[in-house]
């Protein structure tokens, strides 16, 4: 079972700042989405609204066609694990957190939870306040995945893991997604490592939607044009320029947009080199601050 999400004109204002700015976004169920944004871009606010941790005041959010706010039947099927200490409850140990989760999550899988506990070598009897950062991340992931919620959202919750554990997490996430398809949203600002897991990527910046596309299409949309400065300038006139660098007579301009085969052959004739841009670089260009 999977849930789609339909967000219309969502706005959230905090004193002095607009955290989410008139966001409209429709996500089909059953895919793995990457939600990318810098720190403070509104990722956590957005996910908290979808999970009904916060009330929507402007605009609408529908999950599976229903409003999540104060809808227990729906929210027990929506899992959000934030990087912060949602699961760090004073006086509670790992076993206790798992027991709570089992009670609240109708699709909870004990056997899977145990496998994750073993994988991450989590100490069942240790108090959660005494867990290391990596162990807290691992506990979050265990609860997040073993809940098997039709909408599962992990908000940077795996960033506390060390590299071998992160790769173990990617493997187990993919394997479990294949066996139990559901809608998964992973938010992150570290992209290269995970981008291949995403079917689609959503980039937000200052609460606004900057890009939303298939990961592969998005990746192919950026290009670095390198060659003699004058030719590069001519070629990139009218294109969306994300950045430029110059070294002597050679110039490199990063552009965003589709470059059709005709333009590619023009580039070749002019002695220009076109090369793809890594998703991480594209993300950096698309979300860098306005020049002051």
């Amino acid at each position: 079972m999977t849930f789609g999400i339909d967000i219309q004109n969502l706005t959230v204002r905090y004193p002095g700042v607009t955290a989410i700015d008139d966001l409209t976004l429709k996500l089909e169920g059953g895919k793995i989405y990457g939600l990318l944004g810098r720190n403070g871009s509104g990722k956590t606010t957005l996910l908290s609204l979808i999970a009904a941790y916060r009330k929507v005041t402007e605009g609408t959010i529908l999950v599976d066609g229903r409003t999540p706010w104060e809808n227990e039947e729906l929210t027990q099927e929506i899992g959000l694990i934030r990087e912060s200490s949602d699961l760090v409850i004073e006086g509670e140990n790992v076993k206790g957190i798992l027991r709570r989760s089992r009670r609240f999550r109708p699709r909870w899988d004990d056997e899977f939870a145990q496998r994750l506990i073993d994988l991450f070598e989590l100490p069942l009897n240790r108090g959660v306040t005494k867990l290391s950062r990596g162990q807290r991340s691992a506990l979050g992931i265990t609860v997040g995945l073993a809940s098997r919620a039709p909408l599962t959202m992990l908000d940077e919750s795996y960033l506390g893991l060390d590299a071998p554990s992160r790769y173990a997490f990617y493997d187990v996430l993919l394997a479990d997604y294949i066996e139990n398809p559901r809608t998964i949203i992973l938010s992150t600002h570290l992209i290269e490592e995970v981008s291949r897991l995403f079917e689609q990527v959503i980039i937000i910046d200052r609460g606004r939607l900057v890009a939303y596309d298939d990961t592969e299409s998005l990746r192919m949309r950026g290009a670095a044009v390198v060659g003699p400065a004058a030719a590069v300038d001519d070629f990139t006139t009218g294109m969306t320029v994300l950045g430029e660098k110059r070294l002597g007579g050679t110039k490199s301009v990063t552009v965003y947009g589709d470059i059709d085969p005709d333009a590619r052959s023009v580039a070749a004739d002019w002695g220009l080199e076109l090369s793809p841009v890594a998703l991480q670089d594209l993300f950096v260009h698309l979300t860098k601050g306005d020049p002051a």
């Binding site: 493997d171 294949i178 990746r219 793809p276």
Partner: protein, 122 residues
């Protein structure tokens, strides 16, 4: 395994074609399922499926309902003739152009090829 030079589904298709060309995958042999492939290479299953679909569209693989995907019997011959057609444009012409740019006489290139040819037949 994969780089940023081209779409990953395209690289998946190329990798399987190379396995067919090298003989690692024979005619009518079953290929990994898209899910196995996705899990093994840590990529999204939809991306893997796109690569496999491209191969089905090109006639390199065929589907058997409920069982999986297999290498078509004519795949290797087809790929060989495609690669042979591209060989001069993709390999020889850029080599000649490069030799010109860096000032290697074409006679030297030809001589080297003759030497390699001699070694091969020896």
């Amino acid at each position: 395994m994969f780089d940023d030079r081209s779409p990953i589904y395209h690289q998946i298709a190329e990798a399987i074609k190379n396995d067919i060309l090298s003989g690692e995958l024979g005619a009518d042999e079953q290929v990994m399922s898209t899910n196995q492939y996705a899990a093994y290479y840590r990529i999204n299953p939809a991306t893997a499926a796109k690569g496999f679909q491209q191969l089905v569209d090109e006639g390199v693989l065929y589907k058997r309902r409920g069982i999986g995907m297999f290498v078509s019997s004519e795949a290797r011959d087809m790929l060989l003739s495609q690669r042979r057609e591209r060989f001069f444009a993709d390999v020889v012409e850029p080599m000649v152009a490069e030799a010109r740019v860096i000032g290697i006489p074409l006679d030297d290139v030809v001589a080297r090829i003759q030497t390699l040819k001699g070694r091969e037949s020896a």
